[in-house]
């Protein structure tokens, strides 16, 4: 009797282990290829003429793996639009933050087991890859891409915007500051939220310089701000009324909450800081052609439109394909302060200083 019970426990344990292992089954490239019918000679009309060769090469690969912090549902939306233009190429998406993606990829690459083709992130996360020459150079401009970065290695997917957010119930319109400096007012003591990474101010430092920026943060800290972790919780704190203003949340999140009826909006400050979200195809990528095709599509008018449709992000400067927010800011005469390639070192340095200050680690 007892032996039977022990046998039962043992079997349950073993079964769980086996089941656990089976849970990690992945769809293989050959399975994907079957769904593509393997026919690369027929090119749909939706494929532009200058993309045919690249598309055919991509179709042979049949899939690509995209590492990005973007929500899975949004990337599924992108994939749907991408496949309307370029059918037969599967997008495997893996939700991962750019910092973790970079170190994970470096580890994979050094062992010769690369599983990723393409990743995105602001330029702050690329030096580790560029120093190791791990991002592939490509003739993007031949395929209609207007602007490339880091010697034709990276191109833009979207702009991550950081306007000053405010709660529309707690702050009357006539009380709104017109400049970032006007926010420094004793009446907002204890009513300002600041995101721990302070990326917003690091971008403004491109215009202001380090000294003014650090002084500005000191002034903000004098007002006893609520320090918040993450751009999204920061927006949530404004919407909920915990804080009246917030530095460090995203424009798309403000728009999303507004659409859902939350009492939140952005302030028409004289300037709005923006991170350029860049993407590149990585060295030893298993599906480089599919990755280049997808990267170019994400930068194209169709790709930018899909990103605005599903995630609410887009381009706010340096292009004709401005997003809704970009148009609104242009109309309001707001200056866009985007992270420039030549300012990377300055941005990285000031970000470290600002983060140390705001987190009381200096």
């Amino acid at each position: 009797m007892f032996k039977k019970k022990w046998f039962l426990l043992l079997m349950v344990s073993v079964m769980m282990m086996v089941v656990a292992a089976c849970g990690s089954k992945t769809e293989t490239a050959s399975e994907t290829a079957k769904t593509n019918n393997g026919d690369t000679s027929k090119v749909p009309d939706t494929v532009p003429e200058n993309m045919v060769e690249l598309y055919q090469a991509a179709l042979k690969e049949g899939e690509l793996t995209f590492w990005s912090a973007t929500e899975e549902a949004h990337v599924q939306g992108y994939a749907k639009r991408f496949n309307e233009m370029y059918p037969g190429i599967k997008i495997n998406h893996f939700v991962i933050q750019p910092g973790e993606a970079a170190q994970r990829y470096i580890t994979e690459q050094s062992s010769g087991n690369v599983s990723v083709d393409i990743m995105d992130g602001s330029q702050r996360f690329y030096p580790a890859l560029l120093e190791r020459d791990l991002v592939q150079k490509f003739n993007y401009k031949d395929y209609g891409v207007e602007t490339t970065f880091y010697d034709d290695r990276l191109i833009s997917h979207y702009h991550l915007t950081y306007p000053l957010a405010y709660n529309t119930t707690l702050v009357k319109k006539d009380e709104l500051p017109k400049t970032w400096e006007e926010l420094i007012d004793p009446k907002w003591k204890g009513k300002i939220g600041v995101e721990t990474r302070v990326g917003t101010l690091a971008l403004l430092a491109q215009d202001w310089g380090a000294e003014k920026t650090l002084k500005y943060l000191d002034d903000v800290l004098e007002l006893d701000p609520v320090i918040l972790k993450g751009g999204i919780p920061t927006a949530n704190s404004v919407a909920s009324g915990e804080v009246a203003f917030a530095i460090g949340t995203y424009g798309f999140q403000i728009e999303l909450l507004k659409k859902q009826g939350a009492p939140i909006d952005w302030v028409k400050t004289e300037s709005i800081p923006v991170y350029n979200y860049l993407s590149g195809v990585l060295k030893d990528a298993p599906h480089p052609n599919a990755a280049f095709l997808f990267n170019i599509w994400m930068n194209s008018a169709e790709g930018v439109k899909a990103q605005e449709e599903f995630k609410g992000v887009g381009m706010v400067t340096n292009t004709e394909n401005l997003s809704k927010l970009g148009k609104a800011w242009k109309k309001a005469g707001i200056e866009i302060i985007i992270d420039k390639e030549e300012n990377l070192e300055q941005i990285t340095k000031i970000t470290e200083e600002l983060t140390g200050k705001v987190n009381s680690l200096q």
């Binding site: 656990a20 990690s24 580790a128 609520v226 919780p233």
Partner: protein, 594 residues
Amino acid sequence: MKPSTSVNATNLPVLLPKKQWYNFDFMKMLYLVMFLIVSYIVLVPMVILLYSSVGSTKGTLPFEQLTFTMDNYISVLTNPLTYSLLGNTVVFTVGSILIGISIAVFLAWVLERTNFPGRMIVFSLVMIPMAIPQMIYAIGWLQLLNPTNGIINVPLQALFGIEKGPFDIYSLGGMIIVQGISMVPTAFLMIAATFSTLDPTLEEQSAVCGHGIGSTVRRITFPILMPALLSATIFFTIVAMETFEIPGTIGLTAGIPLLSSQIYFATHPPSGLPDYGLASVLGVIMLVFAFVLIWYYQRVTKNAEKYATITGKGYRPTRMSLGKWKIPTIIAVWGFILISVIFPLLSLIWSSLHAWTVPITWETIKSSSLKAYSDVLNMSEIGNITWNTMAMSIGSGIATFILVGIVSWMVVRGPFSPRARRLIDTVAFLPLAIPGVVIGLSLMFFYIYFPIPVYGTIWVMIIGMVTKYIAFGQRTMVSAQMQISKDLEEASQLAGAGFSTTIRKITVPLISPALFYIFIWVAVHAMRELPVLVMLYSPSTLVASTLVWSFWEEGSMAKASVVGVFLIVAFGLLFYCSRWLFEKVTNSGMKTKF
């Protein structure tokens, strides 16, 4: 009256000089195998931790650096900030341990040793916060007690006509209270396992001698519980030093950074690669603390037999009557449940019904929506995620309890030299001091390079979980095993039973409550774990905690809260199903505890 009256030189736990009823060579082999397994699990992250602490890792990953340097140590040890952070950390740790362990001891005693009504429901409720990811739990507290618009503060502001609520969670006190309360479920499990196997005869004799409840608890119960209390204290000392969720959500606004804040920001920089050198030095400092604590523990509990209360002499679990203390005890227990479980749980459910945090008004109640539930349930990967989560958490629970069940038996009962026993016990405790991200990175690196095909599978996640949680299991199991007298095993041998029969029929049924607690604890923590898994999961092995994290990062508080609610439901199912299975298999009569 002292519980150690039966101690003498002949019944110390070192069994070597006595006649053995099992084959000693087999024991040596078992020790060697278990030592190799535990070392394998522990040494991979340990080596990476030590290696990166003496390397120049600014801008490089630990395995890339080839230059040995002491700069990391010099930079940390000569920086006045380190000592300021250490000071904050000590106050935070001591304060939260005092709160957490006091409440846990009280609850464990009430639920395991008295005739408190409704023990089963209280037991289940106490466990609930374990299933909620720490970050969401901390945010739940902020929603309740932030001074501007906290759900509890708002009505009090209106009542007293004040601008800010009377409770300000953004303070050292607030951090300590929330951390202390968040420790209660785990501390409760560690201590309840010992309470449940405590022989009541000694307490009864104390009562017969005319001592009241307070005197009996002080003179009898607490001394017997010493190993469990020490275990829990040691465990939480390291946990409180390492944990970042509560210092990160509450402490930053309070302006009170801790050592864990520095580790977090070193490993999650706003740009570039993490500074593993700096984080590793801080990890090594914690490792030193861990060594000192485990050395002290082993010294205090050297004579394991004196804590044995389950003997062959009439062990029968009975309960004390609360008498006139019944009503105050009910108020205290349910008051705690209300504050630590019901409020955060309602806050979580409320968050899951709204796209952003809103106050509770008639309008917002009417505008509540189940859309987030529908969105989560309609995700194409939800089936796969559920499957992965259950397989990974149950697999981790099973692997850990089997491992620590054997290792702790060897530490407490094994026929080995004290040095050998201390060695394996210490090795099993060390991973607690290694930051989760270092464990994750080490395992990723190791299994990418070595020809063991587990990278990107559930298996590597299970290995990560066992590494992270072996210390908890070991401390809990050693305390529980110390309470079981070896007389019972020897009696079994005298009656003609073999080694395996004795283990199966005597040892395992007696320690089954502790095994069950370890299984549940590890499984539930694996469900919500993030720092280790974030480096180990892959597109095909998404689990609930990584889903919460991605919802969180993407901005859907409601969806993240929905997953939190689902985790609680999954925990409830796991709890009852596994308890039923444990009862069936071990014949332990665990239900008598409820």
